[in-house]
């Protein structure tokens, strides 16, 4: 079985699966259960400054959207940072870290954008023996109205400034957690880097309203008839998170900056995908909140099996392997031609591919009187919609055409040469390939 031991910023954990700063890591009891279940590390739920703690609403904190069979696809929350006293959290962190020296405890922090506030809290956090800190520049709800969380994360200059303070007053790794509620995630990432951050973690949650109660006309979760946008997470946000991760991983200015991947990681496969896109480890929340801490066992066994199958000996072997394959549209090979192919043995004749193609795409699937569905190569643009809507896995596949074959749609011979939009004759700005 592959060794999952992971070194992230010099912090060694038995596996790359950490719990993200969130309700599951709010207190000693939960964190001990998480470590017993096998999690490699936790990012303790965000601490605020000393004094009376924040308060939470006393009604629903979460809203959800569902897939088939009420499978939770997306969750949003309006919970704030820890609502327990700073001292209690610090004591608990100290105790748990002492008992679990082989697991990572990272302390998430959110205090006002004043140097003194950071100067005050950092020594206290350092005294717990925790392995590092994560700066919560991401929470989109509640705290951002008070000039913290996403309000900081949306201003690169603030990120750089606060990160610099942290590096100045704290000597262990500093991770900057980024908000996705911006237009270009590379800017805050670069700012964190300039401030001396050891890593970034992303994404924090996305501004969201999960549903509207059509009786009360209140957004959900509803507090006495009113709702506020909450932070969205879970499987539904994974594609957004992976895109943002990949942008940081491949941008020249931020390339090589360690990343802790967050956003809908639910299975070992999700984790491997984030890591292939450049994440040194991953953080999980919604999956644990949906199924409990035990899911880490599947993540551990699944990642190990896959690494064994691929011959990877360490998680670092495959981190970032997919990054070189993330490119801009303009560099995609326009000479690559594929056609959909329907396996008649696997087809259950539901006709969804036909409806999708006939109504909304390219009329490239034929239907016979006895419900045999076949691809019309002369019409198929290989859009993949049929593959995406087919309920049977691998029933419809995209088959690349071989060089030298004639594409019946265009009448052109398929070339084995790479040619992209930058040199395409239809591109007014094309440059001759020389």
């Amino acid at each position: 079985m592959a060794d999952l031991t992971t070194n992230f910023l010099g912090i060694i954990t038995p596996n790359p699966f950490w719990l993200a700063s969130a309700p599951p890591t709010d207190k000693e009891y939960n964190v001990r259960r998480a470590f017993e279940a096998g999690w490699g590390g936790v990012v303790w739920k965000t601490l605020g400054m000393e004094g009376p703690p924040v308060v939470n609403v006393n009604g629903p904190r979460y809203g959800a959207i569902y897939g088939a069979d009420r499978r939770l696809m997306g969750l949003n929350n309006i919970e704030l940072i820890t609502d327990r006293p700073l001292e209690v959290n610090l004591e608990e962190i100290t105790r748990v870290k002492a008992d679990y020296p082989d697991r990572a405890i990272i302390v998430s922090i959110m205090v006002p954008c004043e140097e003194q506030a950071w100067k005050d809290i950092l020594p206290k956090v350092a005294a717990t023996g925790a392995d590092g800190i994560e700066l919560n520049f991401g929470c989109p709800h509640g705290m951002s109205e008070r000039g913290m969380g996403a309000a900081v994360g949306q201003v690169p200059e603030y990120i750089e400034m606060v990160t610099r303070w942290c590096k100045q007053y704290y000597d262990k790794p500093v991770i900057v957690k980024l908000t996705p509620n911006i237009t270009d995630v590379r800017k805050p990432a670069a700012a964190a880097m300039r401030g001396g951050a050891d890593a970034v973690s992303l994404i924090n949650t996305i501004n969201s309203i999960t549903s509207v109660n059509l009786d009360s006309m209140s957004p959900e979760p509803s507090i006495d008839g009113k709702g506020s946008h909450g932070g969205y997470c879970g499987p539904a946000v994974k594609p957004i998170a992976m895109s943002m991760v990949s942008e940081i991983a491949r941008h020249p200015e931020t390339h090589g900056l360690p990343i802790s991947g967050i956003g809908g990681v639910t299975t070992w496969r999700d984790a491997a995908e984030f890591m292939a896109l450049g994440c040194g480890n991953v953080q999980v929340c919604t999956a644990a909140m949906t199924y409990g801490f035990k899911i880490v066992q599947e993540m551990i066994s699944g990642l190990s099996q896959w690494m064994d199958e691929k011959g990877y000996e360490s998680t670092s072997d495959f981190v970032g392997m997919a990054v070189p394959n993330v490119t801009d549209w303009q560099y995609l090979n326009l000479n690559y031609v594929a056609k959909a192919k329907i396996s008649q043995d696997d087809c259950i004749k539901c006709g969804r591919c036909y409806a999708a193609c006939e109504d909304t795409s390219h009329q490239a699937i034929s239907m016979s009187a006895d419900r045999v569905f076949e691809v019309i190569d002369a019409e198929c643009v290989a859009c993949n919609l049929c593959v995406d809507v087919c309920p049977v896995e691998n029933c419809i596949t995209m088959e690349p055409m071989k060089a030298g074959e004639v594409d019946p749609r265009t009448g052109k011979v398929v070339s084995d040469k790479y040619a992209n939009w930058t040199t395409h004759p239809n591109n007014p700005g094309a440059v001759a390939a020389e």
């Binding site: 069979d69 259950i348 004749k349 539901c350 006709g351 239907m367 419900r371």
Partner: protein, 433 residues
């Protein structure tokens, strides 16, 4: 006190409580959560095979999607637009050979979407509100006679009334409903559902029911044709085929359809007599219904003897399995030779010379039913000949359901035939041909 070992045909072999349990709903209705889970499984197929397989062409993917999105009443309306007896069909349709057999998930996993139970969920939801979902069109001024208040007649009457005509439905029995009321196993239609469904259906208005009037005896086709603008015959098959063997006249020998009707009309199941050793002759749904109910009433041994092989049996595989699971013995390629006191003698039809003798204090005949009167119409085989629109050989007279040619003798087929004949009657009366 009699029990399952008591010889002869006696009542109360089982306690009232045991009988109540035995005759409870065969398929309990889906609770809201179960319906949500079941509805989620539908793939919303294009030109769905289940719709093609449904004799009434209910838009099944649409109604299931309507259930899934929390609008079961809209789902019910989708069903009733095609099949006004969708409630009964949800209970009695052999879905395993119709929609559910065609379901792509049957092909994919061997587990079809539970279309029948979802249909029941939707129709029960709407009917519980006692809301009749349709309103009548402006009056056409036309009057139509429907003879036979079974599924075909009720479907035709409802459609004609909805289209604005006034309909009188005659039935030979004391109660409307036809086979829905008298011919279906009790555990498929509990809580007096057939009668409640008729009441609900009549909510459309414009339909008068006259019971105790039989064609041939109390009514003549000539009179009806003279008095009404059109006549729809849905008299079913009132006669029962005879075995034509020695001993058929013995006291323990009776028609399965009467036994089933008595069961359905009984208010006290402990009053119903059944033999200790029962043999049912036949291989269709009626044979299975009679056999299973005999067993449920407390018969010790129940045997179905069918003259052909299992593959030719009219009852579906599901029905055969149901019978077997209740302890009914299925025997094939056997036909009765003679009925003796306490015993039936059967001969093999596959050429083997053996004779089988089975202890029997009760024998039910379920070898098919026949038309009671042709009313002067042309027949096709032993049924009233009709064209694709249900037109008979006589102008102004339509027919559908079991009495008419074509189609399987299923409730759902009868509904489709009644509905379609009604559309043709309407078109014809409103200036067509």
């Amino acid at each position: 006190m009699p029990d399952t070992t008591t010889t002869g045909i006696v009542a109360a072999r089982l306690s009232g409580d045991a009988l109540k349990l035995n005759f409870a709903d065969l398929h309990a209705p889906l609770a809201d959560h179960e319906a949500a889970v079941a509805a989620d499984r539908c793939y919303f197929c294009y030109d769905a095979p289940c719709v093609t397989a449904c004799p009434t062409s209910i838009d099944i993917p649409l109604f299931i999607r309507q259930i899934a999105t929390g609008t079961s009443e809209a789902a019910a309306k989708t069903i009733f637009e095609q099949n006004i007896l969708g409630g009964m069909c949800a209970r009695v349709c052999p879905t395993e050979t119709l929609c559910e057999e065609a379901c792509v998930r049957e092909a994919a996993e061997g587990k079809p979407v539970e279309i029948g139970r979802l249909q029941r969920h939707a129709t029960d939801t709407l009917m519980a509100k006692q809301a009749h979902p349709f309103v009548r069109a402006a009056s056409t001024g036309k009057t139509i006679a429907v003879v036979g208040a079974g599924p075909a007649g009720l479907a035709a009457a409802h459609r004609l009334a909805m289209l604005g005509s006034d309909v009188t439905v005659f039935d030979a029995r004391k109660k409307a409903g036809g086979l829905n009321e008298f011919g279906i196993a009790s555990y498929k239609s509990t809580n007096d559902f057939a009668a409640r469904e008729v009441d609900w259906l009549l909510g459309i208005g414009g339909i008068t029911i006259e019971t105790g009037k039989a064609l041939g005896a109390d009514l003549s086709l000539d009179d009806l044709a003279a008095k009404y603008d059109a006549v729809f015959l849905s008299v079913g098959l009132g006669g029962v085929n005879a075995l034509s063997v020695d001993g058929e006249d013995k006291s323990g020998v009776s028609d399965a359809v009467d036994f089933i009707a008595d069961l359905r009309q009984a208010s006290d199941l402990t009053s119903l007599p059944v033999g200790r050793d029962v043999v049912v002759i036949g291989g269709g749904m009626t044979a299975v219904d009679a056999a299973v109910q005999s067993k449920l009433l407390g018969a010790r041994n129940v045997t179905i003897a069918y003259r052909r092989g299992r593959d030719r049996m009219g009852a579906s595989k599901y029905e055969q399995d149901l019978a077997a699971s209740k302890g009914v013995q299925l025997m094939f390629n056997l036909q009765p030779k003679a009925i003796h006191d306490g015993e039936i003698e059967l001969a093999y039809t596959d050429g083997s010379a053996e004779v089988v003798r089975i202890t029997a204090d009760q024998v039910f005949k379920a070898i098919g039913q026949t038309l009671m009167t042709d009313a002067g119409l042309t027949l096709e085989g032993r049924k009233i000949a009709v064209d694709a629109n249900g037109r008979t050989s006589r102008k102004g007279v339509w027919a559908g359901g079991d009495c008419a040619s074509g189609g399987d003798d299923l409730t759902v087929t009868a509904v489709a035939e009644g509905r379609d004949a009604a559309m043709d009657i309407h078109a014809s009366l409103m200036g067509g041909n």
